[in-house]
């Protein structure tokens, strides 16, 4: 149990540094953004307020009018040293969904200031929510970029602190164009798309209530994630394709490959989980990955080399090419499948460990099997496409050199892919 939790936390720390907290800046921040700009001869302020889950709840039912009014009173604008009052021109309020089924808040307010006749020096200070933590940003100019995209996307860079700017001074000159107040956003822009930090697959196991429907839906979702995950780079798609094309695989082979990938991935997740649990004092799981990468790389190199060697021999022995199928050996099929499923997906591991610590082992196992099945489905799909494409190719009229070269070419592709994987893995293994 101890080690499980340890491992879980270490994993969370190493692999998913951005914990699944719905508001990217934490559940109790109050974030503020002001854009001071001149349009025509008039000064405007676009003020954005972003409340995370807890302050939203504390605020209760938000009266946007009262809020806008209070915001206007607590921002202080001086032009050429003289205080300039700001008047509320418009506002927009939305409650983007946050964590735990809770709401967050985004309020945009357009404030109108005085007109200026010529160049003027302005000073701006935002005194709203002075004590509360959160992102505080002030920019001057209609086209000045905002580091948070006006509180829509907070930088997650580990080398930057949350911005803490509440005051600014600037020289401004009236524009030549017409006087147009800044626009309020609406639709998706108002609903702040950056709200839900990544939770995805790993959040499934933590569902608080498990009804049959929830379980089925979770399994379907896990499968979907597995399928989507397989489409990200480096899950042996190239290798599977090259192999099936080169070895004249049949749909049956493609299906078998899928099965092997599922089994390998499931077993791999369990094995890596158990190994790191047992050896957690000595091994940081993070450091196992380069080794696994290396092993799969070498495995693929081995497959490529063996296929190439077989081809070479056959070319020497039968000069006339013919169509009788060389039985695709189960051993090499196994090797290809293993290389595709060997690398356990980190989120699958996190799910396993979370499941154990939540005492939902069976559910966790099911989720991982579903995830692996999804993974395999994608790979089988790719494999089938390769098989179909190849047979179409074969039926085409231009039989001959190209087709005869295919097996050797595919072996070279596999070999190259394996070498690339190995070379990439080697420097990380230390």
């Amino acid at each position: 149990m101890k080690r499980l939790i340890l491992l879980l936390a270490v994993f969370a720390a190493l692999l998913a540094p951005a914990a699944a907290s719905a508001h990217p800046l934490g559940n109790f921040t109050i974030n503020r953004f002001s854009r001071v700009e001149v349009s025509g001869h008039r000064l405007y302020v676009l003020y954005v307020l972003d409340l995370a889950e807890i302050p939203t709840f504390q605020a209760g039912n938000i009266d946007a009018r009262a809020y806008a009014h209070r915001i206007a009173q607590n921002v202080h604008l001086t032009v050429a040293g003289r205080p300039a009052p700001l008047v509320v021109l418009g506002r927009a309020l939305a409650h983007p969904p946050g964590a735990g089924g809770l709401r967050t808040t985004r309020l945009e307010v357009v404030l109108a200031g005085p007109t200026i006749a010529g160049p003027a020096r302005l000073a701006y200070h935002d005194a709203n929510y002075a004590d509360r933590i959160g992102w505080k940003e002030v920019v001057v100019g209609a086209h000045t970029p905002s580091r948070s995209d006006e509180l829509r996307a907070y930088p997650k860079d580990m080398l930057s602190s949350p911005l803490d700017v509440t005051s600014t001074t600037a020289e401004v000159t009236p524009g030549s164009g017409p006087d147009r107040p800044p626009a309020l956003s609406h639709g998706k822009l108002l609903e702040a798309p950056d709200r839900i930090a990544d939770s995805g697959f790993a959040s499934l196991v933590g569902r608080s209530h498990l009804s049959l429907l929830v379980i089925l839906a979770s399994l379907a979702a896990a499968m979907f994630w597995g399928a989507a995950h397989a489409l990200s780079p480096g899950h042996g798609k190239t290798i599977v394709t090259a192999y099936l094309v080169g070895q004249r695989g049949t749909p049956k082979h493609a299906a078998l490959l899928g099965l092997i990938v599922t089994a390998t991935h499931t077993v791999g997740v369990f094995a890596l989980g158990l190994v790191t649990l047992a050896l957690s004092q000595f091994i940081v799981p993070d450091r196992l990955y380069p080794w696994l990468n290396l092993v799969s790389g070498l495995l693929v190199v081995g497959i490529g080399a063996s296929v190439l060697r077989t081809r070479w021999r056959r070319r020497r022995h039968h000069h006339h090419h013919h169509h009788h199928e060389h039985p695709t050996s189960f051993r090499s099929l196994l090797a290809v499948g293993v290389s595709g499923g060997l690398l356990p997906c980190p989120s699958a591991l996190v799910v396993l460990l979370a499941a154990i610590s939540l005492h939902r082992v069976a559910f966790g196992l099911l989720l991982i099997v579903a995830f692996s099945a999804g993974l395999a489905l994608s790979i089988t799909g790719v494999g089938l496409a390769a098989v179909v494409a190849r047979s179409a190719f074969r039926r085409a009229t231009f039989e001959g050199r190209l087709v005869r070269l295919l097996p050797a070419a595919s072996a070279l592709v596999i070999l190259a892919a394996g070498l690339a994987m190995t070379l990439r893995a080697v420097p990380k293994v230390s």
Binding site: P17, A19, M158, L159, P162, D286
Partner: protein
């Protein structure tokens, strides 16, 4: 040896063989903080400036392990100063990066250990502390991480041994405050105060560190009914580090102890306004309820529900503080008993034992409760709330005389030890 006697002074009841020097994370402290992990920055260099400098250095050379270490630790200090958990995430990323670059890096390992302590992942902290210790057996701070984790896991003998070694290696603020806390745990309040004085002297002029030390002194003073010093230290903490939420919380307790309910509400509200931690919010609700502000109190209690939902959404379902809140307020008794059991398994310290004992009493499992209460009091800690819980358990078992004597002991320590329960104890004694 001389140092040892010097720091000891008191007797270690029931733990005679063990040198009791240091204590770790404090009950109810928001971020079970280990003593400051940074060597105190020179007075001229604030944490903000230090962070900015290190960020700039790292932007020039992102692989500078020493700078990564320093920045990771500085982020943790910022998290303590602001209460903003985003800094923990950043610290995690920076230190993990350092560890990837240099897997046997000492500061990154122990830094991740103290981070785990802050996040209440005590088993992780223990493993990381031990790993740091194997890397460098003579570094004092590793013993701090190990000892803090052991103490929170209820392994006091081993924890105090670690502290003993640590203090022999390096007597400083971190060691003195652990000495003090360990003495509080074994009920040696006088000895604790003398150690706190040393810690305070060593922390003067260090902003947040001084404020933190003063808050601890204030709480120790409150726990034994010394309300004058409790108030003075809380106020001094606010002077040392203005706006410090834990200081407002300590101030609220001191004011409550002096019977100034409305001053207490104002102070706790200030703490909640800065950081809405569940323990602050629940105290605020209790204070408001006592003052007859039922509607306000209900809002605070509802806010706790929201915070719990967020914790669950973030994968935390074993929080001791929220378990205590549920048990105290009779919320879903069966579920809260299960929660308390989980929390106690995660954190089998005297605090975990006490909350579980209390949850068992509230649900009528008084015989089982007695065992956990005995465990909770096994160190001889003079904690009025734990004594009161024991009284209630004895009463539930029909031991009237014993119950009255426990209630009397609790009230003798501090007639207002708890907003909710001190009045109950008084009523029972009538």
């Amino acid at each position: 040896m001389r140092t040892r006697r010097l720091v000891f002074g008191g007797t270690a009841a029931g733990l005679t063989a063990v040198a009791i020097l240091l204590g770790g994370a404090l009950r109810g402290s928001p971020s079970a903080r280990s003593a400051p992990v940074l060597s105190p920055p020179p007075a001229s260099e604030t944490t903000v400036a230090q962070v900015a400098k290190l960020q700039a250095e790292l932007r020039a050379n992102v692989d500078d392990v020493n700078a990564l270490d320093a920045l990771g630790l500085a982020y943790q200090q910022r998290a303590r100063e602001t209460g903003d958990p985003t800094y923990y995430t950043k610290s995690d990323e920076v230190l993990s990066r350092a560890l990837r670059l240099a897997p046997r890096d000492l500061l990154a390992t122990s830094g991740l250990g103290s981070l785990a302590l802050s996040r209440h992942r005590f088993r992780v902290a223990l493993a990381l502390g031990r790993r740091a210790h194997t890397i460098s057996p003579t570094t004092a701070r590793n013993y701090g991480v190990i000892g803090d984790a052991l103490v929170e896991l209820g392994r006091y003998r081993a924890g105090f041994q670690a502290f003993d070694t640590m203090a022999r290696l390096r007597p400083d603020v971190s060691s003195y405050s652990r000495v003090a806390h360990a003495r509080v745990l074994i009920g040696d309040v006088r000895g604790a105060f003398s150690a706190w004085r040393l810690a305070l002297e060593a922390s003067l002029g260090q902003g947040e560190t001084e404020a933190w030390t003063r808050v601890q002194i204030s709480k120790t003073a409150f726990s034994v009914g010394r309300l004058g010093p409790a108030l003075a230290q809380a106020q001094a903490a606010l002077r040392a580090f203005p706006g410090y939420a834990p200081a407002y919380d300590a101030l609220a307790w001191a004011e409550y102890g002096r019977g100034r309910l409305h001053a207490a509400i104002a102070a706790e509200q200030a703490a909640v306004d800065r950081i809405p931690l569940p323990q602050y919010v629940s105290v605020l609700g209790d204070l408001q309820r006592t003052a007859g502000l039922t509607a306000d109190a209900r809002r605070q209690y509802a806010l706790i529900g929201v915070i719990q939902r967020l914790l669950v959404a973030n994968g935390v379902d074993t929080d001791l503080e929220t378990a205590l809140f549920d048990v105290d307020h009779g919320i879903r008794p069966r579920a809260s008993l299960a929660l308390a059991r989980r929390a106690q398994r995660e954190r089998p310290s005297i605090d975990g034992d006490d909350v579980l004992a209390w949850a068992l009493e509230r649900t009528g499992h008084c015989r089982e409760a007695l065992g956990y209460s005995q465990r909770a009091l096994r160190l001889g800690t003079r904690d009025a709330l734990k004594l009161f819980h024991r009284g209630a358990i004895e009463q539930c078992l029909g031991h009237r005389t014993a119950a009255r004597s426990w209630y009397r002991r609790a009230l003798a320590l501090n007639p207002r030890f708890s907003v909710l329960w001190a009045p109950v104890a008084r009523r029972e004694l009538r």
